[in-house]
C-alpha cells in the first residue's frame, strides 16, 4: 500500500471537491474530485491505488449513504404512496431503457454504455456501475452530467418561472 499515492489522491480530490462546492456546482462533491484526479492522471501520470477490496468498500459506502436517506420514510407513508411510487418508477425504468435503445441505434454506442448513460439513476451510481462492468465510463459520466445539469439549470428554472407567473396571475385575479 503506497501511503504517498493515497495522500496525493486525497489531496488532489479534496481540492477538486472544495473548489466545486465553493462554486456551488450541483453534485460538486463527486464531480470536483473526478475532474481534478482525472486531470492529474492525464497531464502528469497515473495514481494507481492497489488496495484490496477498495472497489467493494467504495460501492458499499455509496449504497449505505443512499440507503440511509430512507430514515424519513415509514411503512405507513410507503403504503399511502405505493401506487404513484410504482407508477413513476416503472415510467423511469421503462422510459430509460427505451431511451437507451434510441441512443444505441442512433449513435452506435454499445448497449451497456447506452443503458448506463441514459438511465435515470444517480450520476455517481451509474458511473460506478459502468466502472464495474467495463462500459465506457467517461461517456457515461459526461452523458449523465449533461442530463443532470440540464434538468437542474433549465427544466427546473423554467418550472420555477412558470409557477411564479401562475401565482402572480392568480393573485391578480383574486384582487380584481
Amino acid at each position: 500500500m503506497d501511503l504517498f499515492t493515497i495522500l496525493l489522491a486525497v489531496l488532489i480530490g479534496g481540492a477538486g471537491a472544495w473548489l466545486a462546492l465553493k462554486v456551488k456546482v450541483p453534485g460538486g462533491a463527486f464531480l470536483g474530485p473526478v475532474v481534478t484526479v482525472a486531470a492529474y492522471q492525464v497531464c502528469v501520470g497515473n495514481l494507481p491505488l492497489r488496495i484490496t477490496g477498495l472497489r467493494l468498500g467504495v460501492q458499499i459506502a455509496a449504497g449505505i449513504v443512499i440507503g440511509s436517506n430512507f430514515a424519513g420514510v415509514s411503512l405507513e407513508s410507503l403504503k399511502k404512496l405505493l401506487k404513484p411510487t410504482l407508477a413513476v418508477s416503472a415510467i423511469m425504468v421503462v422510459g430509460g431503457l427505451l431511451n437507451a435503445l434510441v441512443v444505441h441505434y442512433a449513435t452506435g454506442f454499445d448497449v451497456l454504455t447506452s443503458i448506463l448513460s441514459t438511465s435515470f439513476g444517480g450520476q455517481t451510481e451509474m458511473v460506478l456501475i459502468s466502472e464495474s462492468i467495463g462500459a465506457e465510463k467517461e461517456t457515461v459520466l459526461v452523458m449523465q452530467l449533461i442530463r443532470m445539469q440540464m434538468v437542474l439549470l433549465v427544466i427546473l428554472q423554467i418550472t420555477r418561472i412558470y409557477l411564479a407567473v401562475k401565482a402572480k396571475k392568480k393573485g391578480a385575479l383574486e384582487n380584481e
Partner: protein, 160 residues
C-alpha cells in the same frame, strides 16, 4: 448500537450481491439492505452531512483514477447523443408528471418535482423552496433510485 443495524444490513447486502456477481453488487446490495432496515427498524441510521460529502469525494477520487485519455477521446462526439438523451428525458418527465396529475390527482408542483430525474439533494432543496411536499417528493425519488439501481444491474447481468 441499534442505530448501526441498517449499516450492518448494508454491509451484509453489499457483500452478498458482490459475491453473486451482480454489476456494482456492493452498492446495490448495500442500498437494498440499508434502505429495508431503515424502513423496518425503530432506530434509524443518520449519517452526518460531512460524512456523506466525504463518501462522495472518495467516490469521485475512485472514479477519477479510472479515467483515461483514450476514454476521454471517445467523448468528443457527444453532442448528438446528448441532445437525443435530453429530448427523451423531457418526454419521460412530461409523461410521469401527467400520470401524477391526471391519474393520482397530485398538484402540479409536487408532480413535476417528483418526476424530474435529478439528484436527490438538489431536488429536495428546491422542493422546500418551491413549497412542495418534501416527504412526497423525497419518497418518489428514493424509490426511483432504488428501482433503477436494482433493476438495471440485474437486467445487465441476466439479459445482456
Amino acid at each position: 448500537m441499534n442505530r448501526l443495524w441498517p449499516a450492518a444490513a448494508g454491509i451484509a447486502g453489499g457483500v452478498l450481491f458482490y459475491s453473486l456477481g451482480i454489476p456494482a453488487g456492493g452498492m446495490v446490495g448495500a442500498l437494498l439492505g440499508t434502505s429495508v432496515a431503515q424502513v423496518l427498524c425503530k432506530n434509524k441510521l443518520v449519517i452526518a452531512y460531512r460524512v456523506k460529502i466525504g463518501v462522495r469525494v472518495l467516490l469521485g477520487i475512485f472514479v477519477g483514477m479510472g479515467i483515461t485519455i483514450e476514454g476521454l477521446a471517445k467523448v468528443q462526439h457527444i453532442l448528438w447523443p446528448a441532445l437525443i438523451n435530453i429530448g427523451n428525458t423531457i418526454v419521460i418527465t412530461t409523461i410521469a408528471t401527467l400520470v401524477l396529475t391526471k391519474v393520482f390527482k397530485w398538484n402540479f408542483t409536487d408532480a413535476i418535482l417528483s418526476s424530474m430525474p435529478a439528484g436527490l439533494s438538489e431536488i429536495t432543496m428546491n422542493a422546500e423552496d418551491m413549497g412542495a411536499d418534501t416527504v412526497l417528493v423525497t419518497t418518489i425519488h428514493l424509490f426511483r433510485f432504488v428501482s433503477i439501481l436494482t433493476i438495471i444491474p440485474l437486467i445487465i447481468k441476466f439479459f445482456i
